[in-house]
């Protein structure tokens, strides 16, 4: 069986090729849990362009779950993407955290045109049994 031989040029260039991608329209996913907020920017198909979270922005521990941390995470994620020329975006918010509104505010202020804001929190139709109650 003959193995497919990759072209000489593509092997060397793969790393730099990805960053040149220009996306005029994208989707911003915000996952806001009680302890952290993760902001991921993808294209319409779902391929990730850049991401940032409260933890990567330098907050640790309980401060990651605060709305201010969510704001900085959203701002940092969008800064990386605005340079790539993204104008319009859809926002998908997941999870019951405090970072929901704060991240949305930061996105609004950054100047990106928003088309939809959706809540995509996953709701089981009585599926898996959740963990037992905490006795604190």
């Amino acid at each position: 069986m003959a193995k497919a031989i990759p072209k000489k040029g593509s092997r060397g260039r793969i790393g730099s090729r990805k960053s040149i991608r220009k996306i005029p329209k994208g989707v911003i996913h915000i996952q806001a849990s009680f302890n952290n907020t993760i902001v991921t920017v993808t294209d319409v198909r779902g391929r990730v362009v850049s991401w940032s979270s409260a933890g990567t922005c330098g907050f640790r521990g309980t401060r990651r779950g605060t709305p201010f941390a969510a704001q900085t995470a959203a701002a940092s994620a969008i800064r990386a993407v605005v340079d790539q020329g993204m104008q319009r975006a859809e926002v998908m918010i997941k999870g019951p955290g405090l970072g929901r509104d704060a991240a949305l505010r930061a996105i609004r202020r950054s100047g990106i045109l928003l088309t939809f804001v959706r809540d995509v929190t996953p709701m089981p139709h009585n599926g898996c049994r959740p963990p037992k109650k905490r006795r604190v």
Binding site: P96, D101, L104, R105, T115
Partner: protein
């Protein structure tokens, strides 16, 4: 934009006579196989035709009835937004470009509150025994009953109170009037 968001936008368009109101709940979809397989370009015209042909009677009633009644009138379509579209969602808010930040956030929060998303999340975080479930249901029922009784009762209280208030104190002084046949 994926076909999902376009389809939801076009559904809103077609069923509410081309007025995009963001606070509207997602309307019932057209017959699913034809809807999903259509390409986005031809979707609008075909969906309009299909809706006008298949459901001429239902369309006006949807506009008149409130979104709360939809789950009773069309029970199978109660979860249409979570099941039928490519990216299922609980709440969707359509943003107009000239909208202030606060109004957008306020609108989003109100929609989320109405969909009970955060409450449900908190409830499902940990397992709830049957005893706790029963207690929660009793509490919710009591709250709902109290809310329904509060509003009509408050209105009844106000009107009789206004009538009881007497502006003029009673006047027992003798009035000088000429009464005929009296001194």
């Amino acid at each position: 934009m994926g076909a999902a968001s376009l389809s939801s936008a076009s559904l809103v368009n077609s069923l509410s006579s081309l007025s995009l109101s963001s606070s509207q709940t997602p309307p019932p979809p057209p017959p699913p196989p034809t809807a999903v397989s259509l390409s986005s370009a031809s979707y609008d015209s075909l969906s309009l035709k299909a809706l006008t042909i298949n459901q001429p009677v239902i369309a006006p009633s949807i506009r008149e009835t409130s979104p709360d009644i939809h789950s009773v009138l069309f029970p199978s379509l109660a979860f249409s937004n979570t099941l039928f579209f490519k990216t299922p969602y609980n709440v969707q808010v359509i943003v107009s470009p000239d909208e202030s930040e606060e109004s957008l956030i306020g609108r989003f929060r109100r929609e989320v509150f109405r969909a009970n998303v955060i409450q449900e999340c908190k409830r499902r975080r940990f397992f709830e025994t049957n005893q706790e479930k029963r207690k929660r249901k009793i509490r919710d029922a009591a709250r709902r009953r109290a809310r329904r009784r509060q509003q009509p009762v408050a209105k009844k209280d106000e009107t009789p109170r206004k009538k009881v208030v007497d502006d003029q104190p009673e006047n027992w002084d003798l009035i000088d009037i000429e009464v005929p046949y009296c001194k």
